[in-house]
């Protein structure tokens, strides 16, 4: 509202503030501390704890600073007898029913109640009656409850209602009997659920996997960047003896604010999973043998050299977009040293026709998403793919943005939007019709008809103050990804909207900048025309590639495959000849470039498990063994400096040069596969995070079809279906799912059981098995 400045006085100090700002915020800004529990800067004011009571001149009663707007000339005393007795009074009330057994509480040592009690509590307890006891509830595998410790501040309840966008927790009962719970026994399933641990000021909600495993004061805190989605959430690693005990958000308003997605919070458990690769392995006579690093590196170098046989083009590198800039850079350099340009990171992409952006990105800063007035999102499920980007979009929606999705799935969203659900082929039609609504005539747009909704969307994009057209992972995995880019670009351009990508992985944007995808390899070509030698970095062939069947065949044919991997798995065991144990999240230094093009570097914090080594070091030494020049960096920073020098300030950009008249590869008729990636299956690390795999978001491979489609095929819930794609087949259970459009089969990727199938999106046939 008013930006008018007022002058107030707090404890005798003159402070300038925006008229109407809450006193507690103004005091915080001025560095004057007022105790609080229910207040949280990202949540609505509830003013229920009464810890922040202060004296305001001319007001006889103490007022809550969290709910008192400042006005000019106001004189506030936070330490006056009136204020202090009020604060001490509240403190005493809060403690009468609190267990006061901090030594056995998981929160001990990092508890807001404990801290404030030191300042405002008394050392004598005047309450001699029995204390309240509340039965704990099982709210799922991620968050432990110890509800007797609850101080009813309702931060967790407000977090659910206001941030997570799902009212999963509530307060039932009156007075002393007021309890936090789910009402009906149920788990808390939001993809952001772990944040309730952080907002809870006491030990009522704690991390289930971490609980009772370490005390706060035994932990060393290190900064890092989350390794999954393209948000690049800033995190603190909490370590004990070099082991990551837990991950918590590090505040960065421009990126993750003060939140963290559950995936980023709990995936660290994967680091210590049983199938962690801790020793170099070499396949001898078909058997894997543990060897020392020297032997492994020599085997890798010799194998690659022999496979190339002097022809660099016989070598290819596939690097995960979850790899660091430094790893990708050195892999590229290594290949170049051997005469090959064949490197790619677009593992889940199927269509590589030219004209797609070379270095795609979000097209704006993350926080700018909130400011959008109209958004068209194509082929994306942000709540699953990038939960906190999804949260920014939700904020935009709550502020009134019109958000429209064109997807081959009905999403479960926590805000108002329009969802146009159609087949993969239909997605192009919808998008083209929006173009038609903008009076475009190019290519396939000319053949479509704009209905009212298309025209309305076209108008809203055009009239919005800020609009965006955003593509997501399902658009990139689409057989006509290039056409989608072309159409989206046309719509964005003619409506004045910003074109952007919601990239899938922690370093997708950075990888694009290094790989210069247009000039270098293209995954599909590198597998369709098998090379003799492959270098695989940080991926599992059957789970992380667009077309596992194709990949399987290529690696079978290859003479020599070197894998840098943090984990063992069947498909790597089958494909590789040498496996080099890779340091993973928290163990390696490096840099990720997030969706918005922010370069975020981090240092290694945890001790790499066993003999695992950071990828940049492995590649550096491999370069030495191969006697390639330019592999003498002493630390990660030098590698980064090289990258920066080579990119010479180049920025990501969404420049599209696609003729929207290309042949459509997705058949309009017949059954289409929808192979989106489940939230906790996205990469090798999260697939091994045990608590996340126990949540309701864990899925097993299945064929999800709607009832009508099932009926037409004679399939039913619980039955089995034979899924065929080319010569790849899988028999999977049938699940009736009305979020899937007719004539589509949602067979999600990255799940055990789908290894033999083909492209994530494409034609598929289903029969009763």
């Amino acid at each position: 509202m008013s930006e008018q400045l007022v002058t107030i006085e707090i404890d005798g100090r003159e402070v300038k503030a925006k008229a109407g700002a809450m006193l507690i915020d103004v005091a915080d800004e001025a560095g004057i501390h007022i105790p609080r529990f229910c207040y949280h800067k990202k949540l609505s004011v509830s003013a229920n704890c009464r810890m922040c009571l202060v004296e305001v001149e001319k007001v006889p009663r103490p007022l809550p600073a969290c709910a008192t707007p400042v006005n000019d000339g106001m004189k506030v005393k936070t330490q006056s007898p009136l204020a202090v007795t009020a604060q001490q009074g509240t403190m005493e009330f809060l403690l009468i029913n609190h267990p006061l057994d901090c030594p056995i509480c998981d929160q001990g040592g990092e508890c807001e109640l404990q801290d404030v009690a030191v300042g405002y509590g008394s050392d004598v307890c005047r309450y001699v009656e029995g204390k309240r006891v509340v039965a704990d509830k099982n709210i799922g595998p991620l968050v432990a409850t110890d509800l007797t410790r609850c101080i009813q501040c309702t931060r967790c309840v407000r977090f659910g209602a206001e941030i997570a966008g799902v009212r999963e927790l509530g307060a039932t009962g009156r007075g002393e009997h007021m309890q936090i719970g789910t009402y009906i026994e149920k788990s808390v399933d939001s993809e952001l659920s772990g944040n309730i641990i952080d907002v809870c000021p006491v030990g009522s909600l704690t991390s289930k996997p971490f609980r009772f495993r370490a005390r706060a004061w035994e932990l060393v805190q290190r900064d890092a960047v989350a390794p999954h989605d393209s948000m690049g959430s800033n995190v603190h690693l909490h370590l004990r003896n070099g082991e990551i005990m837990r991950v918590v958000p590090k505040e960065n308003e421009a990126v993750n604010e003060c939140w963290l997605s559950d995936r980023d919070r709990y995936s660290y458990q994967g680091i210590y999973s049983e199938d962690r690769l801790t020793k170099p392995l070499v396949k001898k006579d078909g058997e894997w043998q543990e060897v020392d690093w020297k032997e492994a590196l020599e085997a890798a170098a010799n194998g690659l050299k022999a496979a190339a046989g002097g022809d660099g083009d016989q070598l290819a590198a596939l690097v995960s977009p979850n790899s660091t800039q430094e790893e990708i850079w050195l892999a590229k350099k290594l290949l170049q040293g051997m005469g090959s340009d064949n490197i790619d990171y677009r593992l889940r992409q199927g269509d590589f026709r030219p004209g797609q952006p070379d270095r795609p990105w979000l097209g704006m800063a993350i926080a700018e998403l909130e400011e959008l007035d109209a958004v068209l999102i194509i082929g994306a499920n942000p709540r699953q793919d990038q939960p906190l980007l999804g949260h920014r979009l939700r904020k935009a929606a709550m502020k009134g943005a019109t958000i429209t999705y064109i997807n081959p799935l009905q999403l479960v969203l926590n805000y108002r939007s329009s969802q146009w659900v159609t087949t993969p082929a239909g997605m192009l039609e919808e998008l083209a019709a929006v173009g038609k609504g903008l009076n475009l005539r190019r290519g396939i747009i000319a053949q479509t008809k704009a209905e009212d909704r298309h025209k309305a969307l076209a108008a809203s994009l055009k009239e919005a103050g800020k609009a965006a057209v955003l593509l997501g992972p399902m658009a990139l995995a689409h057989p006509d990804a290039s056409m989608i880019w072309g159409l989206a670009d046309a719509v964005a351009e003619s409506s004045g909207a910003t074109l952007g990508l919601l990239p899938e992985a922690a370093n997708s944007t950075g990888a694009g900048m290094i790989c210069e995808a247009e000039n270098n390899g293209k995954v599909r070509e590198l597998l369709e025309n098998p090379r003799k030698g492959y270098l695989l970095c940080n991926l599992e062939p059957s789970l992380d590639l667009h077309d596992p069947a194709l990949a399987g065949k290529a690696f079978d044919k290859a003479e020599f495959v070197v894998a840098l991997s943090a984990f063992r798995g069947d498909s790597l065991d089958a494909a590789a000849d040498v496996q080099l144990p890779l340091a993973t999240f928290g163990e390696t230094s490096g840099t990720f470039v997030n969706a918005a093009g922010d370069w975020q570097s981090f240092a290694g914090a945890a001790k790499p498990l066993g003999e695992a080594r950071p990828g940049w070091k492995i590649l550096r030494v491999l370069g030495n063994v191969l006697e390639i020049s330019g592999f003498d960096q002493d630390d990660c920073g030098q590698v980064l400096a090289e990258i920066e020098e080579s990119l010479a300030g180049r920025k990501p950009e969404n420049k599209v040069k696609v003729d929207v008249n290309e042949e459509r590869w997705m058949p309009a008729e017949g059954m289409a596969r929808i192979g989106d990636v489940p939230i906790y299956a996205a990469d090798p690390l999260v697939r091994r995070a045990s608590a996340l795999q126990e949540t309701v978001h864990h899925v097993e491979a299945a064929v999800r079809i709607n009832a009508e489609t099932a009926k037409g095929l004679g399939l039913e819930e619980g039955g089995q279906a034979l899924v065929s794609q080319g010569d790849g087949q899988a028999t999977l259970p049938v699940v009736i799912d009305e979020t899937v459009p007719a004539n589509c089969a949602r067979v999600q990727s990255a799940l055990a059981g789908t290894e033999k199938l083909g492209a994530a999106f494409g034609a598929v046939t289903l029969t009763k098995a």
């Binding site: 229920n48 009020a86 005493e92 009330f93 009656e129």
Partner: protein, 421 residues
């Protein structure tokens, strides 16, 4: 001079029927206002003149409250009537709902006209099932007769009225908890400001008045603000419904002029049972501090006088106790009420009410210690004035009153482990 306003038709043939209410002159004021299109500002002035102070307990001048809403501002506005009547000892609104529901409907239509509300709710105490039925019947009759709904009596003014039955929580009588409850949420008071006149039901400007306040409106406008004011005394205009109960011969509801002597009221209620002496009186519902009987007999029933005596007129619920009543037991019962009825959101009330109850209960059960009295003295001011709603003050008031006037009884209880009486 009794029963002149809200209960004016008491004793007449079924005055809750529309036909009869109309035949006694009901809805005439409304008709006049709507046909003459009386300027709302003029009605507000008349209400101010009448000196009607909100009968829900807080005593805020009704005319002033109505003036907080800008009738012509765009957007929805709501009118809400508070018939939750949860304050122990209070049972006056029930009689209005029972015997004169149409006068409340008429008052609500007029109030809605004044503030520009097209939708209203009457929030009725959960236990008042029969009254709820009767009020609903009145609404239905009025709607049938074109007195509610669209284009009332051809005036172009629309007003729809709904009943909302509560579910038994005392705190839902607090106006903002009541709004939450109507919205389908847990009945918890909201932090104020913003006040309901700015941000009320569903976030829109809302006026909330007590049943008695609204039911008084048609008579005030019929006979004039001046007339009403002159029924009462300085600062307390008009008549008031008192629900008087306790150790008296004839408990019930009496509509009498403000400023009436307590002794007169007591007499109307048949005097003390068995001729026992009046030991103590709670003059304004359980939240009001107790006043010793002897003192009370000298007081008049109006806002100022009762306040000067250290208590409050509140909802006009008068609880009379004779010398057989143990004040410790009485307080224990009241403290238990607040302990059970605290909504639980703010710390001093949630934790403090339980603490108060347990200490008082300990004393009552012969397990008290002398320090407990100081403890009570110390805790109560840490509750009152520090909570989101006035339930915190309501819980602290009775304890403070009892200890002020009957401390010796508490001491006796502690030393002798039994009642003094």
């Amino acid at each position: 001079m009794a029963n002149e306003v809200c209960l004016r038709f008491l004793g007449k043939e079924t005055p809750w029927k529309l036909k009869n209410y109309q035949s006694y002159g009901g809805y005439e004021v409304l008709k006049k206002i709507l046909s003459e299109k009386t300027p709302p500002a003029q009605i507000i002035e008349e209400m101010k003149t009448s000196n009607l102070r909100g009968r829900g307990g807080a005593g805020f001048p009704t005319g002033v409250k109505w003036g907080f809403i800008n009738r012509d501002a765009p957007g929805k506005k709501y009118l809400v009537c508070n018939s939750d009547e949860g304050e122990p000892g209070t049972f006056k609104d029930r009689d209005i709902l029972r015997y004169n529901p149409h006068q409340l409907v008429e008052g609500m239509i007029i109030a809605a006209y004044v503030i520009g509300a097209n939708l209203g709710y009457n929030y009725i105490r959960g236990e008042f099932w029969n009254e709820y039925r009767r009020f609903q019947d009145a609404i239905d009759e009025a709607r049938e007769a074109g007195l509610l709904g669209e284009n009332i009596l051809g005036s172009g003014f629309d007003f729809e009225l709904h009943c909302h039955l509560g579910a038994g929580a005392y705190v839902c009588g607090e106006e903002t908890a009541l709004l939450e409850s109507i919205e389908g949420k847990k009945g918890q008071p909201r932090f104020k400001p913003p006040f309901p006149a700015m941000v009320g039901l569903y976030g829109e400007p809302t006026i909330i008045n007590n049943t008695e306040s609204l039911a008084s409106v048609p008579v005030i406008l019929e006979k004039g603000g001046e007339w009403f004011k002159n029924l009462g005394v300085e600062n307390s205009g008009g008549t008031k419904l008192f629900s008087i109960s306790g150790n008296i011969n004839n408990p019930g509801v009496f509509e009498v002029p403000m400023g009436i002597k307590f002794s007169e009221l007591l007499e109307m209620a048949g005097g003390m049972k068995d001729g026992r002496p009046c030991k103590a009186v709670i003059p304004g519902g359980s939240s009001a501090p107790v006043i010793p009987g002897a003192r009370m007999l000298d007081l008049t029933m109006d806002y100022d006088c009762i306040q000067k005596a250290g208590s409050m007129l509140g909802s006009g619920a008068v609880i009379v106790m004779d010398d057989r009543q143990c004040m410790v037991k009485v307080l224990e019962r009241m403290s238990y009420f607040y302990y059970e009825e605290s909504c639980g959101q703010c710390t001093p009330c949630r934790e403090g009410t339980g603490w108060l109850y347990r200490v008082v209960s300990r004393i009552e059960n012969g397990e008290g210690r002398m320090e407990d009295l100081d403890l009570l003295d110390d805790i109560t001011p840490k509750i009152s004035g520090r909570t989101i709603c006035a339930l915190g003050d309501a819980a602290a008031g009775p304890v403070q009153g009892m200890l002020r006037h009957f401390r010796d009884e508490f001491e006796y209880h502690i030393t002798h482990k039994k009642c003094m009486v």
